[in-house]
């Protein structure tokens, strides 16, 4: 609105200009000036004061030349026209200065505009550059002509095409502006006024430039002719013309740079104005391209009116006249391109219709905004897509994790079953699946080489699948597979039966030892050494309890014989079937029609029978009358009397032999039926290699400790029926090579543990019925066939 006040000043200037124009031109010029007057009617003087002052301050410099003298004396119209134009320029500059510069006069604003750019509006930046060009031109006017002429010549060369392009642009802009002339609603007081004013001023300037250019084209000769007559007019017109050409060159250069530079915001702000002047020669857009760009800009500006308030929300930031780089650096140190993009996104729509020329200058920015505008709507979908993808990926990972955990849980019992629960689960009566074998077993047994497998191999480690978790192993029902599966099932079932038999035998041995201990306790209880009657024995509570314990244990032993016999028979049956399976396996390599299916059924039935029997394995069902206490006492009484008689009979012989041994005569040592520690001390002095004491029925720990010091090679104690753990401890420390204990039918786990640590070369215990865990396999162990297999299975 400030410039509206300057408009009347411009109307006389238009009258002077009319003198050099034709009637049509005059009419056009008047129309333009009327538009200018309408547009600049409200401009404040405060803002427009500085540029005219600057122009006036520049004019004395021109006046130093001869042609400049009449300028001051020239009539007002020319000065008025020049002043009007300068006013418009100053108005634009002042507006720019108000908006962008925080301090400094117009000179500073011009100089700053050449080096910096307002990031809030690229179009405004282009206008600033134009204004800076004009200002620099005016500053350069007092300089020598050698500095001006080159640029002027360049402008002269470019002016033809540029002028034509500018004319068409002006025409289009004018048409568009008329079409879009609908007044915008009043928004912000200052900002809105400034924008409308600058737009009008710019439009007026464009019209003037177009008019002047057309006039120059239409009447080149009169201006030449009139040049000597009116040097001041000429000089003013030349200045105007130079300015206009500069402006046009600047516009063209901007347009060229917009096409060339990928990131115009950063580079255009940093480049000096002279750079586009140099490049402007060969970087003109065609009219069609320019029209397209202009229409795009207009449409983009119309559609992008929304970010306007956002820009106005930060006026302080946008008005700081900082260099582009420093501004970008200050804004969080973010990269230049994104900042510029965001600024352009926000600021380009700020001047949709008010800056038609600036629109075409900011083609690159608009283009960039067009490019960047889709990026903003795409940003959220991209983020949303990313978040969706993240959620989907997390959900997928969760599902996969659950699936893996479930699968692990499903497979875990199958893996653990063979090692942990195979024997027990079969014993608990589940329905064994006879055809199911360990995969490795079925694989190895599938080939014809199965025949060559040693039949004595004991598949101890083979698991038997429990019916609770029937393994869903898909097997091909070929004879080979069926037979190997049957073999595996039979072997594992038989092994379990063997283990059960061994357990029962161990149990029986335990009870038998208990019976013997009780008998010993009864013997110890007889303090007088005489055997009492049954009634007298029952009167002794200790003896009575011992008798009852013996009765109970003997009952257990007898009852255990029943399941033991059944298990043994079943084991034999399983062994028979297993061997039959091997024979069938060998035959089926070349003979078809073998009754393998029937055999498989037989195996299944047998194994199932075993399973069901094993589930009901108990002695409760065994009907057996326990021996009476009197019977037990009678047996004990007989044993005690026999032992006493034996001791009485052997005692003299043993004493005699012991005496001989201690005298160094070892000839009858093998007749010793009892050995005292003193006799043993004499016996170990014998320097022979073999010590046969097979008549000894008892080996006390003291005697064993003494015998352990004998330096021979072979001790034979086959008469021993029992070997106490303490005696075994000392005997295992004997450094000889060979021990014979073939009379032992049982060996306690403690004694087994001691004897298994013996470091000799050979240990004979062929009479053993059961044996515990054996540790030392370096010693050659002579056992029964059954025990040998049991040890192999361990």
């Amino acid at each position: 609105m400030d410039q509206d006040k300057d408009a009347p000043k411009g109307s006389p200037e238009g009258d002077d200009e009319l003198e050099n124009l034709s009637s049509d031109e005059k009419a056009a010029f008047e129309k333009i000036m009327a538009e200018i007057a309408a547009a600049t009617g409200g401009t404040s003087k405060g803002k427009g004061d500085d540029p005219p002052k600057k122009v006036k301050s520049d004019s004395p410099a021109k006046a130093s030349t001869p042609a400049s003298t009449p300028v001051s004396e020239e009539p007002l119209p020319v000065d008025n026209a020049q002043a009007d134009l300068d006013k418009i320029m100053a108005e634009i500059s002042s507006k720019k200065g108000v908006q962008k510069l925080s301090s400094g006069g117009p000179d500073d604003s011009v100089s700053n505009d050449t080096s910096s750019e307002d990031l809030s509006s690229d179009q405004q930046a282009a206008l600033d550059q134009i204004m800076a060009e004009i200002g620099s031109k005016r500053k350069a006017d007092p300089l020598p002509g050698s500095q001006i002429e080159p640029s002027g010549n360049t402008d002269e060369e470019l002016s033809q095409d540029q002028q034509a392009a500018l004319d068409s642009i002006m025409a289009e802009i004018g048409a568009k502006r008329k079409a879009d002339k609908s007044p915008e609603p009043a928004k912000d007081a200052s900002g809105q006024d400034d924008e409308s004013l600058s737009a009008d001023q710019q439009a007026a300037l464009d019209s003037i430039m177009a008019e002047i250019g057309s006039k120059r084209k239409a009447d080149p000769a009169p201006s030449v002719n009139e040049s000597p007559a009116k040097p001041a007019d000429e000089s003013a017109q030349e200045d105007q013309q130079a300015d206009i050409e500069k402006i046009m060159a600047e516009i063209e250069a901007k347009k060229g740079r917009a096409e060339e530079e990928p990131e115009p915001g950063a580079e255009t702000s940093a480049e000096p104005i002279s750079t586009p002047q140099k490049k402007s020669g060969g970087e003109n857009l065609t009219m069609e391209e320019f029209d397209d760009e202009l229409s795009n800009l207009l449409s983009a500006a119309q559609t992008a009116a929304a970010p306007k308030p956002a820009i106005k929300a930060k006026p302080a930031d946008t008005q700081k006249p900082k260099p582009a780089e420093s501004t970008m650096a200050e804004e969080g140190g973010k990269p230049a391109a994104p900042i510029q993009a965001t600024i352009s996104d926000k600021e380009v729509p700020k001047s949709p219709d008010e800056y038609p020329i600036l629109k075409e200058v900011s083609v690159e920015i608009q283009t960039k905004s067009k490019k960047s505008q889709p990026a903003r709507p795409n940003l959220k979908p991209t983020m949303r897509a990313r978040s969706r993808m993240t959620v989907i990926a997390a959900a997928s990972l969760l599902v996969v994790g659950i699936g893996v955990y479930w699968g692990y849980q499903q497979t875990q019992p199958k893996r653990r079953m063979p090692a942990a629960t195979a024997p027990e689960t079969v014993g608990q009566g589940g329905q064994t699946v006879p055809g199911v074998v360990h995969p490795s077993q079925s694989e190895t047994a599938a080939g014809p080489q199965t025949v060559a497998v040693a039949p004595t191999a004991t598949p101890v480690a083979l698991p038997v699948q429990t019916p609770a978790n029937p393994a869903p192993v898909a097997r091909i029902e070929t004879p080979v597979v069926m037979l190997s599966a049957a073999q595996s099932d039979l072997s594992s079932a038989r092994q379990q039966i063997q283990n059960k038999i061994n357990e029962i035998e161990q149990l029986k041995s335990y009870y038998m030892r208990g019976v013997e201990e009780e008998a010993r306790m009864i013997e110890d209880a007889l303090q007088s050494g005489q055997v009492p009657s049954f009634d007298a024995a029952l009167a002794d509570k200790k003896i009575e309890l011992s008798l009852r314990s013996i009765q109970r244990r003997q009952t257990y032993i007898a009852k255990l014989d029943t399941p033991l016999a059944k298990l043994s028979a079943m084991s034999e049956q399983l062994l028979y079937l297993e061997r039959k399976a091997r024979i069938y396996e060998a035959l089926q390599l070349g003979i078809t029609g073998l009754p393998i299916e029937a055999f498989k059924n037989e195996v299944t039935d047998t194994v199932n029978r075993y399973v069901s029997f094993n589930a009901q394995l108990s002695i409760d069902q065994v009907e057996l009358q326990p021996p009476s206490l009197e019977t037990i006492w009678t047996q004990i009484e007989a044993e005690l009397k026999q032992k006493a008689n034996l001791l009485a009979q052997r005692a003299p012989l043993n004493r005699t032999i012991s005496a001989e041994i201690c005298k160094g005569n070892f000839e009858r040592k093998s007749l010793l039926s009892a050995l005292s520690a003193e006799t043993a001390q004499c016996l170990i002095k014998w320097d022979g290699k073999d010590l046969y004491l097979n008549n000894l029925s008892e080996l006390t720990p003291e005697v064993a400790e003494t015998l352990a010091r004998w330096q021979g090679e072979w001790i034979s104690l086959n008469g021993l029926r029992q070997l106490p753990a303490a005696s075994a401890k000392y005997l295992s420390q004997w450094p000889g090579k060979r021990i014979s204990l073939n009379g032992l039918s049982e060996l306690s786990p403690e004694a087994t543990a001691y004897m298994s640590k013996w470091k000799g070369s050979q240990l004979e215990m062929v009479g053993l019925q059961s044996i515990g865990s054996w540790e030392n396999y370096g010693t050659r162990l002579y056992l029964s066939e059954k025990l040998r297999k049991q040890l192999e299975a361990q």
């Binding site: 062994l575 060998a586 035959l587």
Partner: protein, 188 residues
Amino acid sequence: MMKPHVLAALLCWGVFFWSAPVSANPKLAELEQKIADLALLQEQLAHRIEQVQNIRAALNEQRSILISEIRLLVKNFHVNTLQQAQEQTRLRNNIDLMRQVLSYGDELDAKVLFYQNGRERLAYLSRLAEDDIRMLSALNDLKIDALTTQISLIVNRYLPEAHVIQIDPQRIALIPAEQVWERVSKEK
């Protein structure tokens, strides 16, 4: 237009080459086919022999195990007769298994003999066929019907055994336990 003499020459040339295979001796081809069949069957029988020998070896292994165990049990339990042996579960089972092993072993031994005889006969027939081929190559004609018929008979006889050892388990009569006991006792 082709000249008549050129056409006639082409016709003669075509007739000559068309009728050339027809003029080969069909007996030669038949005999050669028979020889090929015989060779193939021989090779198949050789495979069967090898297969039988493998089975026989496996059975022999089982037989050795069973016999050694029977001897040990007989010695430990002082078993002198079959009745005594039948009283012992392990002995009874082992004798039963030996019945199968020995029966199938005998059958397999017979099969090996059968295959070996067959191979010899096939080789013989193959030699005869080669002789006739030479005769047919030298002379115009030879009666080969008898030979081909004989070859066909022999081939048909052994052809079922070409891929599978023909032993029907249902028809195998297991040798009695007494016979097993005798054979085991003899091998002591």
